[in-house]
Amino acid sequence: MSASHVISSERAAGEGGGRILRYTLSERVHHWVAAFTYIYCLITGLAFWSPYMYWLAALVGGGPTARFWHPWFGLAFAVSVLWMYKMWHRDMNITDADRRWSKAMKYYIKNEDEELPPEGRFNYGQKLFFWVMFYGILLLLISGIGLWFVESIPWSLRWLRYLAVTVHVAAALATIGAFIIHVYMGTAMVRGGFTSIIRGEVSTAWAKTHHRLWYDEVTKGRSPETRSPER
Protein backbone atom coordinates (compact mmCIF):
# COMPACT_ATOMS: atom_id res chain seq x y z
CA MET A 1 0.00 0.00 0.00
CA SER A 2 1.48 3.32 -0.99
CA ALA A 3 2.03 6.18 1.40
CA SER A 4 -0.46 8.38 -0.40
CA HIS A 5 -3.09 5.75 0.11
CA VAL A 6 -2.46 5.76 3.82
CA ILE A 7 -2.89 9.50 4.01
CA SER A 8 -6.11 9.40 2.02
CA SER A 9 -7.49 6.60 4.16
CA GLU A 10 -6.69 8.64 7.25
CA ARG A 11 -8.49 11.59 5.77
CA ALA A 12 -11.44 9.34 5.22
CA ALA A 13 -11.23 8.32 8.85
CA GLY A 14 -11.12 11.97 9.87
CA GLU A 15 -14.40 12.49 8.12
CA GLY A 16 -16.03 9.23 9.03
CA GLY A 17 -14.31 7.65 12.06
CA GLY A 18 -13.65 9.51 15.31
CA ARG A 19 -10.40 11.03 16.36
CA ILE A 20 -8.87 10.65 19.79
CA LEU A 21 -6.35 12.91 21.45
CA ARG A 22 -3.30 10.79 22.17
CA TYR A 23 -0.68 13.39 23.09
CA THR A 24 -1.42 16.79 24.60
CA LEU A 25 0.38 19.85 23.29
CA SER A 26 2.62 19.80 26.36
CA GLU A 27 3.57 16.16 25.75
CA ARG A 28 4.33 16.88 22.10
CA VAL A 29 6.49 19.88 22.97
CA HIS A 30 8.47 17.86 25.49
CA HIS A 31 8.92 15.04 23.03
CA TRP A 32 10.33 17.35 20.39
CA VAL A 33 12.58 19.25 22.77
CA ALA A 34 14.02 15.87 23.77
CA ALA A 35 14.24 14.79 20.12
CA PHE A 36 16.11 17.85 18.90
CA THR A 37 18.52 17.98 21.84
CA TYR A 38 19.18 14.24 21.56
CA ILE A 39 19.84 14.47 17.83
CA TYR A 40 22.27 17.34 18.40
CA CYS A 41 24.14 15.26 20.96
CA LEU A 42 24.02 12.26 18.64
CA ILE A 43 25.54 14.13 15.70
CA THR A 44 28.26 15.81 17.73
CA GLY A 45 28.87 12.69 19.84
CA LEU A 46 29.38 10.57 16.73
CA ALA A 47 31.83 13.20 15.47
CA PHE A 48 33.90 12.75 18.64
CA TRP A 49 33.42 8.98 18.52
CA SER A 50 35.15 8.23 15.23
CA PRO A 51 37.53 10.09 12.92
CA TYR A 52 35.44 8.76 10.02
CA MET A 53 32.44 10.65 11.37
CA TYR A 54 34.33 13.79 12.44
CA TRP A 55 32.89 15.56 9.39
CA LEU A 56 29.53 15.56 11.21
CA ALA A 57 30.95 18.31 13.43
CA ALA A 58 31.09 20.55 10.35
CA LEU A 59 27.29 20.35 10.14
CA VAL A 60 26.98 22.21 13.42
CA GLY A 61 29.81 24.70 13.03
CA GLY A 62 33.02 22.67 13.42
CA GLY A 63 34.80 20.71 16.15
CA PRO A 64 35.30 23.40 18.81
CA THR A 65 31.71 24.67 18.44
CA ALA A 66 30.37 21.12 18.59
CA ARG A 67 32.46 20.45 21.68
CA PHE A 68 31.26 23.66 23.32
CA TRP A 69 27.56 22.96 22.82
CA HIS A 70 27.48 19.17 23.22
CA PRO A 71 27.38 19.24 27.04
CA TRP A 72 24.84 22.07 27.13
CA PHE A 73 22.51 20.29 24.72
CA GLY A 74 23.11 17.17 26.79
CA LEU A 75 21.96 19.03 29.88
CA ALA A 76 18.88 20.28 28.03
CA PHE A 77 18.16 16.73 26.92
CA ALA A 78 18.53 15.48 30.49
CA VAL A 79 16.12 18.15 31.73
CA SER A 80 13.59 17.28 29.03
CA VAL A 81 13.81 13.57 29.87
CA LEU A 82 13.36 14.26 33.57
CA TRP A 83 10.35 16.35 32.62
CA MET A 84 9.01 13.44 30.57
CA TYR A 85 9.61 11.19 33.54
CA LYS A 86 7.47 13.48 35.69
CA MET A 87 4.80 13.48 32.99
CA TRP A 88 4.80 9.82 32.02
CA HIS A 89 6.36 7.62 34.68
CA ARG A 90 2.97 6.44 35.93
CA ASP A 91 1.95 5.49 32.40
CA MET A 92 5.27 3.70 31.99
CA ASN A 93 4.93 1.21 34.86
CA ILE A 94 5.19 -2.34 33.62
CA THR A 95 1.78 -3.97 34.11
CA ASP A 96 0.36 -7.50 33.83
CA ALA A 97 -0.95 -6.53 30.39
CA ASP A 98 2.65 -5.71 29.41
CA ARG A 99 3.89 -9.05 30.68
CA ARG A 100 1.27 -10.85 28.63
CA TRP A 101 2.09 -8.67 25.63
CA SER A 102 5.84 -9.19 25.97
CA LYS A 103 5.36 -12.96 25.75
CA ALA A 104 3.55 -12.45 22.45
CA MET A 105 5.97 -9.81 21.11
CA LYS A 106 6.96 -11.99 18.15
CA TYR A 107 3.47 -11.47 16.70
CA TYR A 108 3.98 -7.71 16.98
CA ILE A 109 7.28 -7.97 15.14
CA LYS A 110 5.67 -10.10 12.43
CA ASN A 111 2.75 -7.68 12.10
CA GLU A 112 0.30 -10.34 13.26
CA ASP A 113 -1.32 -7.92 15.67
CA GLU A 114 -4.55 -9.89 15.87
CA GLU A 115 -2.65 -12.46 17.96
CA LEU A 116 -1.63 -9.85 20.56
CA PRO A 117 -3.26 -9.34 23.95
CA PRO A 118 -4.68 -5.81 24.41
CA GLU A 119 -2.35 -3.05 25.62
CA GLY A 120 -2.80 0.22 27.55
CA ARG A 121 -1.73 3.69 26.51
CA PHE A 122 1.83 2.52 25.90
CA ASN A 123 2.84 -0.99 24.95
CA TYR A 124 5.68 -2.93 26.52
CA GLY A 125 8.12 -1.94 23.77
CA GLN A 126 7.41 1.76 24.19
CA LYS A 127 7.88 1.44 27.93
CA LEU A 128 11.15 -0.38 27.41
CA PHE A 129 12.30 2.47 25.15
CA PHE A 130 11.31 5.02 27.76
CA TRP A 131 13.25 3.27 30.52
CA VAL A 132 16.33 2.69 28.35
CA MET A 133 16.36 6.41 27.56
CA PHE A 134 15.66 7.39 31.16
CA TYR A 135 18.43 5.31 32.72
CA GLY A 136 20.64 6.01 29.70
CA ILE A 137 20.46 9.76 30.23
CA LEU A 138 21.12 9.41 33.95
CA LEU A 139 24.34 7.54 33.16
CA LEU A 140 25.20 9.94 30.33
CA LEU A 141 24.60 12.92 32.60
CA ILE A 142 26.78 11.68 35.46
CA SER A 143 29.59 10.41 33.22
CA GLY A 144 29.26 13.47 30.98
CA ILE A 145 29.84 15.83 33.89
CA GLY A 146 32.97 13.81 34.65
CA LEU A 147 34.19 14.22 31.07
CA TRP A 148 33.21 17.89 31.04
CA PHE A 149 35.33 18.66 34.10
CA VAL A 150 37.87 15.87 33.68
CA GLU A 151 40.73 17.92 35.14
CA SER A 152 38.73 18.39 38.34
CA ILE A 153 38.94 14.65 38.95
CA PRO A 154 42.18 14.36 40.93
CA TRP A 155 45.02 12.25 39.55
CA SER A 156 44.73 9.91 42.52
CA LEU A 157 41.13 9.16 41.50
CA ARG A 158 41.94 8.87 37.80
CA TRP A 159 40.05 5.56 37.56
CA LEU A 160 36.98 7.82 37.65
CA ARG A 161 38.18 9.46 34.41
CA TYR A 162 38.39 6.05 32.77
CA LEU A 163 35.04 5.01 34.24
CA ALA A 164 33.42 8.18 32.88
CA VAL A 165 34.66 7.42 29.35
CA THR A 166 33.47 3.81 29.55
CA VAL A 167 30.04 4.62 30.94
CA HIS A 168 29.47 7.49 28.51
CA VAL A 169 30.29 5.32 25.50
CA ALA A 170 28.27 2.31 26.70
CA ALA A 171 25.22 4.37 27.64
CA ALA A 172 25.39 6.35 24.39
CA LEU A 173 25.51 3.15 22.30
CA ALA A 174 22.56 1.71 24.23
CA THR A 175 20.47 4.83 23.60
CA ILE A 176 21.50 4.88 19.92
CA GLY A 177 20.24 1.32 19.53
CA ALA A 178 16.96 2.25 21.16
CA PHE A 179 16.79 5.45 19.11
CA ILE A 180 17.19 3.62 15.78
CA ILE A 181 14.29 1.30 16.63
CA HIS A 182 12.20 4.18 17.98
CA VAL A 183 12.62 6.33 14.87
CA TYR A 184 11.98 3.38 12.57
CA MET A 185 8.80 2.41 14.38
CA GLY A 186 7.57 5.95 14.80
CA THR A 187 8.03 6.95 11.18
CA ALA A 188 8.00 3.89 8.92
CA MET A 189 6.62 0.90 10.76
CA VAL A 190 3.64 2.05 12.80
CA ARG A 191 1.61 4.18 10.42
CA GLY A 192 -0.19 6.99 12.21
CA GLY A 193 2.36 7.14 15.01
CA PHE A 194 4.36 10.02 13.54
CA THR A 195 1.30 12.22 12.93
CA SER A 196 0.13 11.51 16.46
CA ILE A 197 3.28 12.98 18.01
CA ILE A 198 3.00 16.01 15.72
CA ARG A 199 -0.73 16.79 15.73
CA GLY A 200 -1.62 14.77 18.80
CA GLU A 201 -4.49 12.77 17.33
CA VAL A 202 -5.09 9.21 16.28
CA SER A 203 -8.12 7.61 14.72
CA THR A 204 -10.35 5.48 16.89
CA ALA A 205 -9.51 2.51 14.69
CA TRP A 206 -5.82 3.11 15.36
CA ALA A 207 -6.40 3.38 19.08
CA LYS A 208 -8.48 0.22 19.11
CA THR A 209 -5.91 -1.73 17.13
CA HIS A 210 -2.79 -0.68 18.98
CA HIS A 211 -3.91 0.34 22.45
CA ARG A 212 -7.24 -1.33 23.11
CA LEU A 213 -7.22 -0.94 26.92
CA TRP A 214 -6.38 2.75 26.62
CA TYR A 215 -9.10 3.18 24.01
CA ASP A 216 -11.66 1.56 26.31
CA GLU A 217 -10.55 3.76 29.17
CA VAL A 218 -10.69 7.11 27.39
CA THR A 219 -13.97 6.37 25.65
CA LYS A 220 -15.65 4.91 28.73
CA GLY A 221 -19.22 6.10 28.92
CA ARG A 222 -19.06 8.17 25.78
CA SER A 223 -19.42 7.39 22.18
CA PRO A 224 -16.27 8.01 20.19
CA GLU A 225 -18.07 10.00 17.51
CA THR A 226 -19.12 12.64 19.99
CA ARG A 227 -15.64 13.03 21.43
CA SER A 228 -14.43 16.24 19.91
CA PRO A 229 -10.75 16.45 19.04
CA GLU A 230 -8.78 18.55 21.50
CA ARG A 231 -5.49 20.18 20.85
Binding site: Y54, D113, Y162, R191, A205
Partner: protein, 296 residues
Protein backbone atom coordinates in the same frame (compact mmCIF):
# COMPACT_ATOMS: atom_id res chain seq x y z
CA UNK B 1 64.36 18.54 12.53
CA UNK B 2 63.26 20.66 9.63
CA UNK B 3 66.44 20.07 7.67
CA UNK B 4 65.58 16.38 7.47
CA UNK B 5 63.30 17.04 4.52
CA UNK B 6 66.23 18.48 2.58
CA UNK B 7 68.54 15.56 3.22
CA UNK B 8 69.42 13.90 -0.08
CA UNK B 9 68.88 10.19 -0.50
CA UNK B 10 69.68 9.84 -4.23
CA UNK B 11 71.33 12.22 -6.61
CA UNK B 12 71.45 12.36 -10.42
CA UNK B 13 74.62 12.48 -12.54
CA UNK B 14 76.84 12.39 -9.51
CA UNK B 15 80.06 10.44 -9.21
CA UNK B 16 79.83 8.40 -6.06
CA UNK B 17 77.27 8.39 -3.28
CA UNK B 18 75.24 11.48 -2.38
CA UNK B 19 77.30 13.90 -0.35
CA UNK B 20 76.57 13.47 3.34
CA UNK B 21 75.21 9.95 2.96
CA UNK B 22 75.30 7.96 6.18
CA UNK B 23 76.86 10.78 8.14
CA UNK B 24 73.54 11.66 9.71
CA UNK B 25 72.80 9.96 12.98
CA UNK B 26 69.56 9.22 14.77
CA UNK B 27 67.07 12.00 14.36
CA UNK B 28 65.04 10.94 17.38
CA UNK B 29 65.60 13.85 19.75
CA UNK B 30 65.80 13.37 23.48
CA UNK B 31 66.13 15.35 26.66
CA UNK B 32 68.18 13.80 29.44
CA UNK B 33 67.52 14.90 33.02
CA UNK B 34 70.10 13.80 35.55
CA UNK B 35 68.26 14.14 38.86
CA UNK B 36 71.51 13.41 40.72
CA UNK B 37 72.99 16.74 39.67
CA UNK B 38 69.84 18.85 39.77
CA UNK B 39 69.99 21.52 42.48
CA UNK B 40 66.34 22.60 42.17
CA UNK B 41 67.21 26.16 41.14
CA UNK B 42 64.14 26.44 38.88
CA UNK B 43 66.09 28.24 36.15
CA UNK B 44 64.43 25.81 33.70
CA UNK B 45 60.99 26.91 34.92
CA UNK B 46 61.83 30.54 34.27
CA UNK B 47 63.46 29.85 30.89
CA UNK B 48 60.39 27.87 29.82
CA UNK B 49 58.03 30.71 30.75
CA UNK B 50 60.27 33.27 29.09
CA UNK B 51 60.70 31.44 25.80
CA UNK B 52 57.05 30.47 25.52
CA UNK B 53 55.81 33.93 26.45
CA UNK B 54 54.05 33.24 29.74
CA UNK B 55 54.35 35.42 32.80
CA UNK B 56 55.03 34.03 36.23
CA UNK B 57 51.86 32.88 37.93
CA UNK B 58 51.04 32.85 41.63
CA UNK B 59 52.98 30.28 43.56
CA UNK B 60 51.57 28.05 46.26
CA UNK B 61 53.55 27.67 49.46
CA UNK B 62 53.21 24.28 51.09
CA UNK B 63 56.20 24.28 53.45
CA UNK B 64 58.51 23.05 50.70
CA UNK B 65 60.42 24.38 47.73
CA UNK B 66 57.56 23.35 45.48
CA UNK B 67 56.46 26.25 43.24
CA UNK B 68 52.95 24.85 42.79
CA UNK B 69 51.37 21.40 43.02
CA UNK B 70 51.40 20.56 39.30
CA UNK B 71 52.08 21.92 35.86
CA UNK B 72 49.45 24.23 34.37
CA UNK B 73 48.30 25.18 30.88
CA UNK B 74 50.63 28.18 31.07
CA UNK B 75 53.32 26.49 33.22
CA UNK B 76 54.72 23.52 31.35
CA UNK B 77 57.86 22.82 33.32
CA UNK B 78 57.88 22.25 37.08
CA UNK B 79 60.44 20.82 39.45
CA UNK B 80 58.85 18.38 41.86
CA UNK B 81 60.46 18.35 45.30
CA UNK B 82 60.19 15.43 47.65
CA UNK B 83 61.75 15.15 51.10
CA UNK B 84 62.50 11.47 50.93
CA UNK B 85 63.41 9.38 53.94
CA UNK B 86 66.15 6.89 53.21
CA UNK B 87 66.13 3.39 54.65
CA UNK B 88 68.61 4.45 57.33
CA UNK B 89 66.29 7.27 58.45
CA UNK B 90 68.25 10.16 56.94
CA UNK B 91 66.54 12.67 54.71
CA UNK B 92 67.32 13.49 51.10
CA UNK B 93 65.68 16.02 48.82
CA UNK B 94 64.68 14.41 45.56
CA UNK B 95 64.15 16.89 42.74
CA UNK B 96 62.74 16.05 39.35
CA UNK B 97 61.93 18.38 36.50
CA UNK B 98 58.43 17.42 35.41
CA UNK B 99 57.11 18.10 31.90
CA UNK B 100 55.73 16.26 28.90
CA UNK B 101 57.64 13.01 28.39
CA UNK B 102 57.13 12.92 24.59
CA UNK B 103 56.23 9.23 24.60
CA UNK B 104 57.01 7.14 21.54
CA UNK B 105 53.48 5.75 22.00
CA UNK B 106 51.58 8.86 23.16
CA UNK B 107 48.34 8.27 25.09
CA UNK B 108 47.15 11.82 24.43
CA UNK B 109 47.38 11.24 20.69
CA UNK B 110 45.59 7.89 20.93
CA UNK B 111 42.71 9.45 22.87
CA UNK B 112 42.35 12.63 20.78
CA UNK B 113 39.25 12.75 18.52
CA UNK B 114 40.10 15.96 16.65
CA UNK B 115 41.76 15.67 13.24
CA UNK B 116 45.33 16.96 13.53
CA UNK B 117 45.10 18.37 17.06
CA UNK B 118 48.04 16.26 18.22
CA UNK B 119 50.98 15.31 16.04
CA UNK B 120 54.15 13.36 16.57
CA UNK B 121 56.99 14.57 14.41
CA UNK B 122 59.46 12.13 12.93
CA UNK B 123 62.00 13.41 15.45
CA UNK B 124 59.74 12.12 18.22
CA UNK B 125 58.38 15.42 19.52
CA UNK B 126 54.67 15.19 20.44
CA UNK B 127 53.04 18.55 19.80
CA UNK B 128 49.56 19.98 20.29
CA UNK B 129 48.17 21.99 17.35
CA UNK B 130 45.82 24.37 19.10
CA UNK B 131 44.16 25.49 15.86
CA UNK B 132 42.76 21.96 15.51
CA UNK B 133 42.12 21.33 19.21
CA UNK B 134 38.46 21.23 20.25
CA UNK B 135 39.20 21.29 23.98
CA UNK B 136 37.42 18.03 24.79
CA UNK B 137 40.00 16.91 27.34
CA UNK B 138 40.22 13.31 26.12
CA UNK B 139 44.04 13.68 26.15
CA UNK B 140 43.79 14.22 29.91
CA UNK B 141 42.39 10.69 30.20
CA UNK B 142 44.90 9.29 27.72
CA UNK B 143 48.09 10.66 29.30
CA UNK B 144 49.81 8.37 31.84
CA UNK B 145 51.79 11.33 33.23
CA UNK B 146 48.95 13.85 33.87
CA UNK B 147 50.47 16.44 31.56
CA UNK B 148 47.89 18.03 29.17
CA UNK B 149 46.21 21.05 30.72
CA UNK B 150 43.13 23.01 29.67
CA UNK B 151 43.07 26.76 29.14
CA UNK B 152 39.52 27.75 30.10
CA UNK B 153 39.76 31.09 28.28
CA UNK B 154 40.63 29.71 24.85
CA UNK B 155 39.22 26.19 25.47
CA UNK B 156 42.39 24.60 24.12
CA UNK B 157 44.84 22.13 25.61
CA UNK B 158 48.48 23.01 26.25
CA UNK B 159 51.69 21.28 27.27
CA UNK B 160 55.45 21.31 26.79
CA UNK B 161 56.40 21.36 23.08
CA UNK B 162 60.01 20.28 23.73
CA UNK B 163 60.62 23.73 22.22
CA UNK B 164 59.85 22.35 18.77
CA UNK B 165 60.15 25.91 17.45
CA UNK B 166 63.75 26.06 18.71
CA UNK B 167 64.66 22.47 17.88
CA UNK B 168 63.50 22.82 14.28
CA UNK B 169 65.93 25.72 13.93
CA UNK B 170 68.79 23.70 15.32
CA UNK B 171 68.66 25.13 18.85
CA UNK B 172 68.32 23.18 22.08
CA UNK B 173 65.18 23.62 24.23
CA UNK B 174 65.07 26.69 26.48
CA UNK B 175 65.24 24.65 29.70
CA UNK B 176 68.45 22.95 28.56
CA UNK B 177 69.98 26.32 27.70
CA UNK B 178 69.32 27.66 31.20
CA UNK B 179 70.54 24.74 33.36
CA UNK B 180 73.53 25.92 35.44
CA UNK B 181 74.70 22.51 36.63
CA UNK B 182 74.53 20.69 33.33
CA UNK B 183 72.04 18.19 34.66
CA UNK B 184 70.02 18.76 31.48
CA UNK B 185 71.26 17.44 28.17
CA UNK B 186 69.75 17.43 24.71
CA UNK B 187 70.62 15.43 21.64
CA UNK B 188 69.70 12.26 19.79
CA UNK B 189 67.94 9.49 21.66
CA UNK B 190 70.88 7.22 21.00
CA UNK B 191 73.42 9.65 22.44
CA UNK B 192 71.28 10.57 25.43
CA UNK B 193 70.65 6.90 26.24
CA UNK B 194 74.37 6.22 26.09
CA UNK B 195 75.15 9.24 28.24
CA UNK B 196 72.46 8.27 30.76
CA UNK B 197 73.63 4.67 31.01
CA UNK B 198 77.22 5.79 31.40
CA UNK B 199 76.25 8.19 34.18
CA UNK B 200 74.16 5.52 35.93
CA UNK B 201 77.06 3.10 35.72
CA UNK B 202 79.37 5.74 37.17
CA UNK B 203 76.94 6.31 40.05
CA UNK B 204 76.72 2.60 40.73
CA UNK B 205 80.41 1.80 40.44
CA UNK B 206 82.16 4.96 41.60
CA UNK B 207 79.69 6.31 44.16
CA UNK B 208 78.11 3.14 45.49
CA UNK B 209 74.61 4.22 44.55
CA UNK B 210 73.58 0.68 43.76
CA UNK B 211 70.07 1.31 42.53
CA UNK B 212 71.01 4.13 40.16
CA UNK B 213 69.54 3.67 36.72
CA UNK B 214 67.84 5.16 33.68
CA UNK B 215 64.12 5.84 33.48
CA UNK B 216 62.99 5.28 29.88
CA UNK B 217 59.71 3.40 30.35
CA UNK B 218 59.04 0.64 27.83
CA UNK B 219 55.28 0.69 28.54
CA UNK B 220 54.91 3.79 26.36
CA UNK B 221 57.53 2.66 23.85
CA UNK B 222 60.26 4.69 25.52
CA UNK B 223 60.16 8.45 25.99
CA UNK B 224 61.73 11.53 24.45
CA UNK B 225 62.61 12.67 27.96
CA UNK B 226 64.68 10.28 30.05
CA UNK B 227 65.89 10.48 33.65
CA UNK B 228 68.86 9.28 35.58
CA UNK B 229 67.54 8.38 39.03
CA UNK B 230 69.43 7.47 42.20
CA UNK B 231 66.87 4.74 42.76
CA UNK B 232 65.33 3.57 39.55
CA UNK B 233 63.33 0.93 41.43
CA UNK B 234 61.27 3.64 43.12
CA UNK B 235 60.43 6.34 40.56
CA UNK B 236 57.24 7.22 42.50
CA UNK B 237 59.43 8.91 45.12
CA UNK B 238 60.34 11.54 42.50
CA UNK B 239 57.05 13.43 42.68
CA UNK B 240 54.94 10.54 41.47
CA UNK B 241 56.79 9.34 38.40
CA UNK B 242 54.83 6.20 37.45
CA UNK B 243 56.74 2.94 37.76
CA UNK B 244 55.24 1.29 34.69
CA UNK B 245 53.38 3.92 32.67
CA UNK B 246 51.26 2.78 29.74
CA UNK B 247 48.23 4.05 27.88
CA UNK B 248 45.23 3.17 30.11
CA UNK B 249 43.65 -0.06 28.88
CA UNK B 250 40.27 1.68 28.92
CA UNK B 251 41.58 4.20 26.39
CA UNK B 252 43.07 1.41 24.29
CA UNK B 253 39.77 -0.49 24.34
CA UNK B 254 37.72 2.63 23.67
CA UNK B 255 39.86 3.63 20.70
CA UNK B 256 40.27 0.06 19.46
CA UNK B 257 37.80 -2.84 19.79
CA UNK B 258 34.99 -0.61 21.16
CA UNK B 259 34.98 1.31 17.87
CA UNK B 260 34.41 -1.86 15.91
CA UNK B 261 31.84 -3.26 18.30
CA UNK B 262 29.96 0.03 18.47
CA UNK B 263 30.06 0.75 14.75
CA UNK B 264 28.98 -2.78 13.86
CA UNK B 265 26.16 -2.57 16.40
CA UNK B 266 24.93 0.74 14.98
CA UNK B 267 25.18 -0.54 11.44
CA UNK B 268 23.43 -3.75 12.52
CA UNK B 269 20.60 -1.71 14.01
CA UNK B 270 20.05 0.26 10.81
CA UNK B 271 20.34 -2.89 8.71
CA UNK B 272 17.98 -4.72 11.06
CA UNK B 273 15.15 -2.19 10.83
CA UNK B 274 15.60 -1.94 7.06
CA UNK B 275 15.34 -5.71 6.68
CA UNK B 276 12.33 -5.74 8.97
CA UNK B 277 10.60 -3.21 6.77
CA UNK B 278 11.42 -5.16 3.61
CA UNK B 279 10.20 -8.43 5.14
CA UNK B 280 7.16 -7.32 7.15
CA UNK B 281 6.37 -3.79 6.01
CA UNK B 282 4.38 -1.22 7.92
CA UNK B 283 1.58 -1.80 10.38
CA UNK B 284 -1.55 -0.56 8.71
CA UNK B 285 -4.76 0.14 10.51
CA UNK B 286 -7.70 -0.41 8.22
CA UNK B 287 -9.74 2.70 8.60
CA UNK B 288 -13.52 2.46 8.25
CA UNK B 289 -14.93 4.29 5.28
CA UNK B 290 -18.57 4.06 6.17
CA UNK B 291 -18.48 6.51 9.02
CA UNK B 292 -19.63 4.02 11.59
CA UNK B 293 -17.32 5.24 14.29
CA UNK B 294 -14.20 3.24 13.65
CA UNK B 295 -15.58 -0.27 13.71
CA UNK B 296 -13.13 -2.59 12.08
Amino acid sequence: MSQATLAIRRISGHAGPPPGEDVERDYQVCKLIDTTTCIGCKACEVACLEWNGYSFTDTVFDNSYQTMPSTAWNYWNLIKFNEHEREDGSITLLMRKDQCMHCADPGCLAACPADGAIVQYTNGIVDFQQQNCIGCGYCVSGCPFDIPKFNPATKKMFKCTLCVDRVSEGLEPACIKSCPTGCLHFGSKEDMSYLAETRAKQLRENYGIEKAGVYDPAGVGGTGVIYVLHDVTNPEAYGGLPKDPHIPWVVRFWKGPAKWIGNLAMLGGILGVTLHYLRFGPKQVHEPRDGNGGQL
